[in-house]
């Protein structure tokens, strides 16, 4: 019975990841992050992704504040923020977020305010989609680990 639970979770994880890759939400750089995780840094992926979320939300808030200002004209500043977002998104394998940031950046280079507003909306949408997917992934992974831990503890008791 326990085996089935583990298998199902494993299947869920695989399905979720496959879907994210297939949709282009994640790319191979996400797999590179896995390679950087080991017993000496066991929470690396989780931690770096959470730092990415913190940093990105700060940048998105700043972008929204800038664009909501009716007297806004500092497109260069928008460009600088977007450089950061493009860079960090690509570093963690967030392919779709990165791509929509590049499109947004093009609008900012043309000083196109409506284009920028649309661009920001698209980026916010993609970002939140990614965040929700990552939450789901981490939740399933946590369940998976908990079930394994419960299983090994139970087995340990039975053996002794």
């Amino acid at each position: 019975m326990l085996g089935l639970g583990v298998d199902r979770l494993q299947a869920d994880i695989n399905r979720l990841l496959a879907s994210l890759f297939h949709q282009g939400v994640l790319d191979e750089q996400f797999l590179q992050l896995q390679q950087l995780q080991d017993e000496t840094s066991p929470n690396f992926v989780y931690d770096v992704i959470n730092i990415y979320f913190d940093e990105s939300e700060k940048l998105l808030r700043n972008l929204r504040l800038l664009l909501m200002d009716r007297e806004f004209s500092d497109y260069k500043k928008i460009g600088l923020h977007l450089n950061q977002l493009v860079g960090s998104s690509s570093s963690i394998g967030a392919r779709r977020v990165r791509n929509v940031c590049v499109a947004f950046r093009s609008a900012s280079e043309l000083s196109n305010r409506p284009g920028c507003l649309r661009g920001l909306e698209v980026v916010e949408h993609e970002y939140h989609y990614l965040k929700n997917m990552m939450h789901e992934l981490f939740q399933v992974l946590t369940c998976f680990v908990n079930i394994l831990l419960t299983f090994t503890q139970t087995e340990g008791k039975n053996v002794s």
Binding site: T40, V48, N50, I51, D54, Q84, G87, A103
Partner: protein, 231 residues
């Protein structure tokens, strides 16, 4: 040898600390390669730092060209004091940074007497030929396209440890390739290595052919540690 140079598990608070340039890997044997990493993005600093540590380098990560110069002791115009010279075997820097770009940092390093022979590698998410050429002409050892991968860092690592000799002046390290007899001048050129112009230009995104010159004074300061963004 431990896979990451013998450093213990990195907690999130340590990640932020390293990102802000407060923490360095604990000191280990003098044979260990010491890399100075420069990037204004916290996420990128953390990733590059991990990439380097997992390939057994000691890493100091800073968030700007100015901090890098400060770390190297090049931030004022005093003549460099030769004693207690900092041992830095490689400098890896992002190109696009507010304030001082990686290119400007490269120039300052190459103009210094103490560190001009330290290999400098430039990283950029933009694949712009003119930018790459400019950096290589200014003396950059290599140019990496972001996102940086483990294979890129392993390649850098391999040409760093090929032959490391302690220079006569102190604990600064010079890199020479094996055999040919050393040149008569004190400075041995690193251009003898054949690894200079092998940039990973395979990943070309047409949409990235934009040149940005973030020379504005806006510097993105690190945020203090925050709680995770999970709802």
């Amino acid at each position: 040898m431990a896979k990451d140079g013998g450093v213990s598990c990195l907690r999130r608070s340590e990640m932020i600390g390293i990102g802000i340039g407060e923490l360095e890997s604990p000191p280990l044997d003098s044979d260990q390669v010491h890399v100075l990493a420069v990037d204004d993005s916290l996420v990128d600093r953390i990733v590059i730092e991990r990439l380097l540590r997992i390939t057994s380098c000691k890493v100091t990560a800073v968030d700007s060209g100015w901090r890098a110069l400060e770390f190297l002791g090049l931030d004022d115009d005093k003549a460099a004091v030769e004693f207690d010279r900092l041992k830095v075997d490689l400098i890896i820097t992002d190109y696009c940074m507010p304030g001082m770009t990686g290119y400007e940092l490269l120039k300052k390093i190459k103009e210094s007497t103490s560190f001009k022979e330290v290999p400098v590698v430039i990283m950029s998410s933009e694949n712009v030929m003119t930018r790459i050429d400019r950096c290589l002409e200014e003396g950059a050892e290599d140019f990496l396209l972001k996102p940086v991968k483990l294979a890129d860092v392993k390649r850098l690592r391999s040409y760093l440890t090929r032959d490391v000799k302690v220079a006569a002046e102190g604990n600064k390290r010079k890199l020479t390739t094996p055999p040919p007899p050393p040149p008569l001048s004190a400075t041995s050129s690193m251009e003898s290595s054949d690894s200079t112009v092998e940039s990973p230009l395979s990943m070309v995104d047409d949409e990235d052919s934009l040149t940005m010159s973030p020379e504005s004074a806006t510097s993105l300061v690190d945020s203090p540690m925050r709680s995770p963004g999970l709802a």
